[in-house]
């Protein structure tokens, strides 16, 4: 099958391209990228067997890569399977997902890697790259056969949990240094975050919930950076969530350590204020002066200056203590959120990773602290991060880079690109398409999201994996679309 995706805004960060044009896909590969300035193409007759997809007003980008997905198969198929996870990925614009090894049994032997890859090849909608466990059974005792795991296809290692023994961590890094794959560190000192329910701050103080202080993350990041410098291994900091963590990573990168970092869409856009839900505002106002209260809430509605949130994301839609806001690491404070955005902008943080954690209803139907942490994130990731673009915090090209080139760089792969000859992993999204999050329509089995009922702007319209359409929203791209509005992207593409 051949496709001509027409008149979209082509964004290919790896080749520093942002232009309006057409992309031709043949035999699973990108064969031509035509800038609209090159009008010659317009006069060429289009062959009958080419399906023309009109992408006017949409962005054509390389397929996104999610380097932190919990797939749950094998072992917890009630939460998610390889089929549902890859379908959710396709709907979110991801054409490659890295499967965390916290399956049952964990991915700690080459046979497990082969099995996951085999199921994925046969039934998965998108590519799955397995991550291997650092220690056998993820128990934090003895090393897995890392070289053989890499040979079988592991692209990195993670225990998806803290590795407490610093001497063991040193050995892990020293051994992995020869393998040229990242060690993905879950940075939490569990002795400092014991019994945690949420981020330690004013909100946890008000709600009487035990806190997870930012220091519990920062201590571990500092330790793992020191050990990376000692061993020369590539340490990747998973899901950095604190301002202090960003500062440590920035300083390490300035010393040219082999450090990389990822951040999730929810840590970039939501704060601990979301745990309060409808219980707002945070501070005690004067009950007898409703006029003051009203003016305050009206002001917040417009710009949310005190929350660092775009006005259309509204935490008061949630009931207080909504277990869907519980995630590890927890949603942090406003200063942390701002530091994360700054870190993403200045390159301290390399990639956006969803941390997609599907959970069953039973996992969340309990008191807040006892609810399993996690957010089902693949299908809302783009809409969330685009709020930063719409707010002018980041330009669209850079944002696409953090979803494509960034994670590819961390994994040491050839950058995801639309270069002719590259495999046609393509995501087409409309950055201005408004939609309301309805978890019941998720492809993922995990319906656990704090975003139910929120309006997001920007949605994936079409996803191609290896030249095959694996997801298409409605009748996207059918017809000439001559009457449609011209691209509204110029304002948000950035200057380059």
């Amino acid at each position: 099958m051949r496709y001509l995706i027409k008149n979209g805004s082509i964004i290919d960060p790896a080749r520093r391209i942002a232009t309006i044009g057409n992309v031709l896909v043949e035999d699973g590969k990108v064969t031509r990228v035509i800038d609209l300035a090159d009008l010659a193409m317009e006069h060429q007759p289009i062959a009958d067997d080419i399906e023309v997809i009109n992408a006017r007003g949409s962005v054509i980008a390389p397929g996104f890569i999610d380097m932190h997905t919990h797939v749950c198969e094998t072992g917890e198929e009630h939460r998610e399977t390889i089929v549902t996870a890859t379908q959710a990925a396709a709907r979110g614009g991801f054409t490659t997902i890295c499967a965390m090894p916290d399956t049952q049994p964990p991915i700690d032997h080459a046979a497990m890697v082969r099995q996951v890859r085999q199921i994925a090849r046969r039934r998965g909608a998108v590519r799955i790259e397995p991550l291997g466990a650092i220690t056998l059974g993820r128990a934090g005792q003895s090393l897995t056969e890392m070289a053989e795991l890499v040979e079988a296809g592991c692209v990195g290692f993670s225990d998806n949990g803290p590795l407490d023994d610093p001497a063991l961590m040193r050995n892990v890094l020293a051994y992995a240094a020869m393998l040229e794959v990242p060690i993905m560190c879950h940075c939490e000192d569990p002795r400092l975050s014991r019994d945690w329910a949420m981020h330690e701050g004013a909100v946890s103080t008000r709600l009487g919930l035990p806190g997870y202080p930012a220091a519990a993350e920062e201590l571990r990041i500092a330790r793992d950076i020191a050990l990376a410098e000692l061993t020369g291994a590539h340490v990747h900091i998973c899901q950095v969530s604190t301002a202090g963590g960003v500062a440590l990573i920035r300083a390490a990168k300035e010393r040219s350590s082999r450090i990389s970092a990822e951040v999730t869409p929810h840590h970039l856009t939501l704060t601990d204020r979301w745990v309060l839900g409808a219980l707002g505002p945070l501070d005690q106002h004067d009950n007898d002066a409703p006029s003051r209260r009203e003016t305050r809430s009206r002001r917040r509605k417009k710009t949310e200056p005190g929350l660092g949130l775009p006005g259309w994301l509204d935490p008061t839609l949630l009931s207080p203590f909504d277990p869907n806001t519980r995630v590890s690491p927890p949603l942090r404070g406003e200063e942390d959120l701002e530091a994360l955005i700054e870190g993403l902008r200045d390159g301290t943080i390399d990639a956006i990773a969803t941390g997609h954690t599907p959970l069953s209803q039973a996992d969340k139907e309990c008191a807040y602290r006892l609810a399993a942490p996690g957010i089902s994130g693949l299908e809302t990731a783009l809409g969330l991060v685009l709020t930063l673009v719409h707010r002018g915090e980041m330009d669209l090209v850079n944002m696409v880079a953090k979803l494509t080139e960034g994670p590819a760089g961390v994994l040491g792969r050839a950058p995801a690109t639309l270069r002719p000859g590259a495999p046609a992993d393509i995501t087409v999204f409309d950055p201005d398409h408004s939609w309301t999050v309805d978890p019941s329509t998720f492809a993922s089995r995990g319906r656990n999201t704090p975003l139910a009922g929120q309006k997001l702007k920007g949605q994936v319209m079409l996803t191609l994996s290896n030249g095959q359409i694996i997801f298409r929203r409605g009748n996207f791209g059918v017809g000439t679309g001559a009457l449609q509005q011209a691209s509204k992207l110029e304002g948000i593409l950035g200057n380059d």
């Binding site: 501070d283 008061t316 009931s319 807040y368």
Partner: protein, 325 residues
């Protein structure tokens, strides 16, 4: 997931909570206006008169089913609620800890109790926020009987009621809350209640029992926080002494009970700095020599006993109010 599929219910819950005219649930004092608190205390005064009679029962809740759902033992609070409900002639069901597993789904318990015809439900849970989850699945009236370290509105109202009864006013008070504030639901609910009544509030505790002061100030901006008890007590109208549990020593938050008693225990000498009418409140078994010294206990015993009666009266008032009275 309830909130995932019915985000509307969350907003209506919030709307009902802020609408003072017809309150269906009392989960904390953070949404109670001054007039409403005054109204509850007025009703409580009438209930207290009832409790002083020889026939301690009124027919206000006749034919209504009141259930107490307690996770975690707190016999005092349960007895107090059940006595309050019986004094108003309600049918009382005790949903015990034995029958309900800790891990059982709270929404399904709530739906079951509602289907059984429970009109008013009192919930106590060791985990903060549990009543808010139940609220989304329970159609009747709901009272938070204490959730973890978050809120204990009826106990806070009982404290306010006791202060009002003893001092006969509630305006321009200076109230000192001393002790384990960090792990106290009563303290948090007191902060809302006292703050709404316009009191000047001082928190006094070592920082292991308090956490960073900036967090408290962000929520309650008019709060004063200090570690110097003697300075805090100057001209105080009331002191609320919080119970200290042994776990705090075991968790390494304090070096010893003895040292805590020396620096944060109430003594007659220290209380001399307070106003002459100063009231000392405590809502639990008092530990002699730790939270307060024997000489203080001797002079305040009466108030502490009275507080227990007052708590029943306040709970009657709250039940009566939620039942639509």
């Amino acid at each position: 997931m309830s909130t995932a599929t019915t985000p509307k219910s969350a907003t209506t819950t919030a709307a009902a909570a802020t609408d003072g005219r017809r309150r269906r649930q009392l989960l904390d004092l953070d949404d109670c206006a001054r007039a409403e608190i005054a109204d509850i205390l007025e009703t409580a005064a009438a209930m207290k008169e009832l409790l002083a009679r020889s026939i301690k029962q009124a027919p206000a809740l006749r034919g209504m089913n009141v259930a107490t759902l307690f996770f975690g033992a707190d016999a005092d609070t349960r007895l107090s609620f059940e006595l309050a409900a019986r004094s108003l002639s309600a049918n009382v069901i005790t949903a015990g800890e034995q029958g309900i597993q800790r891990g059982e789904s709270l929404p399904s318990i709530a739906r079951t109790l509602y289907a059984l015809g429970v009109d008013l439900l009192v919930v106590r849970h060791d985990e903060a926020g549990a009543p808010y989850l139940i609220a989304q699945h329970f159609g009747g009236g709901l009272i938070n009987g204490g959730d973890g370290h978050h809120a204990h509105p009826t106990q806070a109202l009982a404290n306010l009621f006791t202060i009002q009864q003893k001092l006969s006013w509630l305006d321009h008070l200076k109230v000192v809350i001393v002790g384990d504030v960090l792990h106290s639901a009563v303290a948090r609910s007191m902060l809302w209640g006292l703050g709404t009544m316009g009191a000047q509030i001082v928190l006094c505790a070592p920082h292991t029992l308090l956490g960073p002061a900036t967090f408290w100030k962000a929520v309650w901006p008019r709060l004063t926080i200090s570690t110097d008890l003697e300075e805090c007590l100057v001209k105080a109208d009331a002191v609320i002494s919080l119970p200290l549990r042994n776990e705090r020593i075991q968790a390494g938050l304090l070096p010893s009970l003895r040292e805590y008693g020396r620096f944060f225990g109430l003594t007659a000498e220290r209380l001399q700095r307070a106003a002459p009418h100063c009231l000392v409140l405590h809502h639990g078994p008092v530990r002699e020599g730790v939270e307060m010294m024997p000489d203080v206990i001797a002079t305040t015993q009466a108030a502490i006993a009275d507080q227990i009666t007052n708590a029943v009266a306040v709970r009657m008032a709250v039940l009566y109010r939620l039942a639509g009275g």
